[in-house]
């Protein structure tokens, strides 16, 4: 009996060892399988992310691309990017980057438009207007773009003097930010008041004919390093003090130098 028990115990121990070994092997297989699945999952996820990145870059680039054949308004300078007001022999150049919807631009215009106009009239200053349109919202029905497009229609039809008048009218009547913007009818009326009337102007305003040009000049301003409005350069140097005294001082200094 003891011998039988002994051998029985031995057999049970052996069976247990085998079972443990099998369990360990199964666990190892399960671990390997899990690892394999993780690797496959990681590779699939990485590929998906890369594909998504490439796809989005392509789609967004095409959405962001500007039309090289954009209709460029006549009576502009620098490949159509700049509207020049004032004498070519004026000693001081003032570059202005503005958005028609920007309240700080209106503040700058309210403070300095009269001074600049008299300096232009005196032949001291030549103004370079660089339009920007980045304050489009659905609430204002893309007013930034519509206003700059209208300004392009005005300069194309009637030249820089009419543009200046239209520009001043739009700032004097700037719609509140977050409001609904001026309507196309109002833009047409102001264009007429500024001296650009007729079917061509009206159609260009309503059809957004210079819409691609608006995108291009906005892009160009960003490439010029301008990241906000108003940005004012006096003979190429950025004006930090936008008060009337600051502007006058900078222009006087530029004139002296």
């Amino acid at each position: 009996v003891p011998a039988e028990t002994k051998s029985g115990a031995k057999r049970a121990a052996a069976r247990k060892r085998i079972e443990e070994k099998r369990a360990a092997e199964a666990a190892a297989r399960a671990r390997a399988e899990r690892r394999r699945r993780t690797v496959i999952g990681s590779v699939v996820a990485a590929v998906l992310v890369v594909v998504a990145i490439v796809a989005v870059i392509v789609v967004q680039s095409s959405r962001n691309s500007t039309n090289p054949n954009a209709l460029v308004p006549a009576n502009t300078a620098d490949s159509g990017n700049v509207i020049v007001v004032g004498s070519a022999t004026a000693p001081v150049t003032v570059d202005m980057y503005e958005d028609f919807q920007c309240p700080n631009c209106k503040a700058f215009e309210d403070t300095n438009a009269t001074t600049l106009a008299s300096l232009v009239a005196a032949g001291t200053v030549q103004l370079h207007y660089h339009g920007m349109a980045f304050l489009d919202t659905s609430a204002n029905d893309k007013y930034s773009t519509r206003a700059l497009n209208a300004a392009a229609a005005v300069v194309a039809q009637a030249g820089p003097t009419a543009f200046q008048a239209f520009h001043d009218l739009l700032y004097a009547n700037q719609p509140a930010e977050g409001g609904s913007g001026l309507t196309d009818d109002q833009l047409v009326a102001y264009a007429q008041q500024a001296g650009a009337s007729g079917e061509v102007v009206e159609q260009a305003i309503r059809d957004l004919s210079y819409g691609d040009w608006v995108k291009n000049v906005t892009d160009q301003a960003s490439k010029d390093g301008v990241t906000g409005t108003p940005t004012v350069l006096v003979d190429g140097t950025k004006l930090t003090d936008l008060s009337n005294a600051g502007l006058t001082q900078a222009i006087t200094a530029a004139q002296g130098g």
Partner: protein, 156 residues
């Protein structure tokens, strides 16, 4: 700890998905926001402006559903370090820009810059991301090791 990790995943996931999605509707604004930092050559501005939101959404989603949590947390931490450096350098160079973290971006008035708040927020998120990378196991996660279940069975 598992529930804390879940909270960290949800916080980071929501922040990154929202930040990424908000950058998609206006590609021109995204480009301007990246350009405003004046750190990248023009050729890289587009790819970064358009690719970064995808990465943000991808890691955000991974964190939300709980797969590849450690990797996603590390990528999140890396992105946050890049953002902190970017915002910090804009601050140090005296640029007056909005970080463009949640869309928008570009120049703002001097009074409207929010560098300290932006940097503090990113550092806070960075700490959360690093903690999550150290202890990635959490409840309500689709992937990862069956740590919570084991604990559950032991509790039973």
């Amino acid at each position: 700890v598992p529930w804390l990790a879940t909270a960290a995943r949800l916080l980071l996931g929501v922040v990154f998905v929202v930040a990424g999605v908000l950058k998609l509707p206006d590609p021109a604004a995204a480009v301007r926001a990246v350009r405003a930092y004046r750190l990248l050559p023009e050729a890289l501005v587009g790819p970064v402006a358009f690719g970064l939101p995808v990465v943000e959404i991808a890691v955000g989603l991974a964190l939300l559903i709980g797969v590849f949590v450690r990797v996603a947390a590390l990528v999140t931490a890396l992105l946050l370090v890049v953002y902190i450096v970017g915002v910090g350098s804009a601050w140090a160079r005296g640029l007056q820009i909005d970080c463009g973290c949640f869309g928008g971006g570009g120049q703002v008035a001097a009074a409207d810059t929010a560098y300290p708040a932006e940097v503090l927020r990113d550092i806070g998120l960075l700490l959360v991301a690093l903690a999550l990378a150290r202890w990635p196991r959490s409840r309500l996660a689709l992937g990862g090791h069956p740590f919570p279940e084991k604990e559950l069975s032991r509790a039973r």
